[in-house]
Amino acid sequence: MKRQKMIMISRRDVMYLFGGVASTALFSNYALANPNLALKRIKEISKNNVEESDLFLDVPEIAENGNQVKVSFDIDSPMTNEDFVKTVYLLADGNPAPNVAKFSFSTDMGACSATTRMRLSKTQNVYLLAEYNNGKFAMTKSKVKVTIGGCGG
């Protein structure tokens, strides 16, 4: 009869194992908590006075080519002299620089929307920050999965 070799696991080994798992989890957490430049920039612009809102930001869920990602937004505003959107910022948290574009609107436009194309280097969040004429800020974000990055290199 063939003798099977038993692997003995002592209590001490188990403790080592758990310790290892715990520390890996801890360190990976640290690695993930890198500073989000886009959020930092949003705080800088809005002086930490921003509300999450459901502005309409249209980005694809999956972008096959990060070189040309169509972005459009539409903000519901009457665009009168009393109530209008002054500036809209577009930011991305995974690109080498968080700023993407700044749109300065005027009441002559009648609506607050625009479309452009942007580069995305990897899967990341795209942020939209709107500044109203009364000094209020609103933001929204949307995640885009990128198959091929678009920032060269």
Binding site: P96, T115, T116
Partner: protein, 108 residues
């Protein structure tokens, strides 16, 4: 390098208070400063950094562009038609050059 050429689409006719959509595109490489050429050398940064729209001389829309905007920047935006006039579009390059284009619109 291909020639830098602006293009735009503005409706020729519009009715009063109609919100029209203006589409523009400029052929420009938008070198972000991070891309490398065939020999592995860095291509220096050169982008369109500003896009400005005037209607009958009055500024109506400005966009500040960063390197994260794609090659051949496409920009579309709305405008509420009130009177007949001319749109003047102006793109500013990093090297200081300006590319311009005008389009007429009749409002009835």
């Amino acid at each position: 390098m291909s020639k830098i050429k602006p293009r735009g689409k503005v409706p020729k006719k519009a009715s009063v208070d109609e919100i029209i959509e203006i589409k523009t595109l400029i052929r420009h490489p938008m070198h972000s400063g991070r891309m490398k050429d065939k020999n592995g050398k860095n291509i220096p940064k050169r982008i369109i950094n500003k896009f400005l729209v005037k209607f009958n001389g009055k500024q109506v829309f400005v966009m500040d562009l960063e390197p994260s905007i794609s090659t051949n920047p496409y920009i579309a935006f709305p405008y509420k038609a009130k009177e007949t006039g001319t749109f003047d579009f102006e793109w500013t390059d990093d090297n200081g050059e300006k590319y311009t284009m005008s389009r007429k619109m009749t409002v009835s």
